[in-house]
């Protein structure tokens, strides 16, 4: 290839490169302007904003823009906007559906939240997760309790109970314990809930456990809750060397200062 040809080719490539960059900038600017325009509609009168948001949702737009449109819908607080959101939660699929479900949680409309129960029952794992998240966002502990109380599926129960723990729903967790007895997921949820009374109770759950699973779950719960005092208490009262070793392992995993007290005391011959 001679110099002239190489220069011509180089110039052509440069032209193509800068041309495509300029195009990208313009496209990004346009998308950014579209996004801001959509976000601005949050301050618009709902009657003005609704037809535009509706058109975005039914049009050929990016998923990101549609997700933002769902958020605007959730903030409108009109019966039309809630019913549109619910229609998306019911009829759409994939990310748009789960996002619509979450947005119902953010909007917090009681009727729309109540309708999520049916969507949960008919949905796949992603939909069920999104419904639980919506209830978490809306702090609807009663709805999550209903799911946990009425399911026969162990995994569903476990997920609902874990969510109750994250919501700090101690009364609901106690009620479930009274109804269904202790389970590993319930013990974990009690630990996650951060309720001091429930966490202290884990010590007794360990002591009175009838199975190894429950006993191990109680130790894990104490570790999750960071309750090294409770583990130390159990260590001191442990009946066998194997139990002591297991409890000590949890204290080590917690990186607890209490381990050093035990080591110091062991050297002094007091433990």
């Amino acid at each position: 290839m001679n110099t002239t040809t190489r220069l011509a080719l180089g110039a052509a490539l440069l032209l193509l490169a800068t041309g495509s960059l300029a195009q990208t900038d313009t496209t990004d600017d346009a998308e950014s302007l579209r996004m801001t325009a959509l976000e601005a509609l949050i301050t618009a009168p709902p009657a003005r904003a609704m037809p535009i948001v509706d058109k975005v949702l039914s049009g050929n737009h990016s998923a990101k823009l549609k997700e933002r449109a769902l958020f605007i819908l959730s903030q409108m607080e009109t019966p039309e906007s809630q019913s549109r959101l619910l229609a998306f939660a019911n009829d759409s699929q994939g990310e748009l559906q789960t996002e619509a479900i979450r947005m119902i949680g953010i909007g917090g409309d009681k009727d729309a939240l109540a309708s999520l129960g049916e969507i949960y029952r008919g949905g796949n794992a992603d939909v069920r997760d999104a419904v639980l998240e919506a209830y978490l966002i809306a702090d609807d502990t009663a709805a999550v309790f209903n799911i946990a109380a009425n399911t026969q599926d162990e995994e569903e129960f476990s997920e609902a109970v874990t969510m109750l723990g994250a919501m700090g729903a101690n009364a609901e967790l106690r009620e479930l314990r009274n109804r269904a007895g202790l389970s590993e997921s319930l013990i974990e949820a009690l630990a996650i809930s951060g309720d001091p009374e429930s966490i202290n109770e884990l010590v007794d759950i360990y002591r009175n456990a009838e199975t190894d699973e429950i006993r191990n779950s109680a130790l894990e719960g104490l570790m999750i809750a960071g309750h090294d005092e409770g583990l130390l208490e159990l260590y001191r009262g442990a009946g066998s060397a194997a139990d002591k070793r297991q409890i000590l392992q949890y204290l080590v995993m917690m990186d607890s200062e209490a381990v050093w007290d035990l080591i110091d005391n062991a050297f002094e011959g007091t433990q």
Partner: protein
């Protein structure tokens, strides 16, 4: 000769008509600082901060304004009161700001939020245009 003069005036008139921008926005004084005006027929006051003859901040005070003030430029110092402007003029000013690509992104966004709060057909036609114009 008279016909020639008439034709020349007609051409000049048409030329002037074409050159005048439709719905041209009212102009603001060139001095730096805050300007404010009341939107006619609405309980809304617009505040506009100008620096080097360019708008840099817009604040809209209305009964149902939901914009937070945290971390944003405060309205203080001397404020030039421009009295009352019509909704059409206010919308035209905000549209000019949104369309001016040389201005800062923040002020253009603030202008868009201002347009969304107006009850103006022109403003919402513009939203329609931004969101649904054919993508190139």
């Amino acid at each position: 000769m008279r016909t020639f003069k008439f034709n020349a005036l007609a051409v000049l008139g048409l030329a002037l008509l074409w050159s005048a921008p439709a719905n041209s926005a009212p102009s603001i004084d060139t001095s730096d600082g805050w300007y404010k005006w009341q939107v006619e027929g609405a309980a809304t006051t617009l505040f506009l901060y100008q620096e080097n003859n360019k708008p840099t901040h817009i604040r809209i005070i209305s009964p149902d304004c939901r914009i937070t003030w945290h971390g944003r430029k405060r309205i203080n110092g001397e404020i030039t009161d421009m009295g009352t402007l019509s909704l059409d003029d206010s919308v035209a000013m905000l549209l000019d700001i949104v369309r001016e690509k040389d201005l800062g992104k923040d002020v253009r966004e603030e202008a868009l939020f201002g347009l969304a709060q107006s009850d103006s057909d022109t403003a919402f036609e513009y939203f329609d245009q931004i969101l649904f114009a054919q993508k190139k």
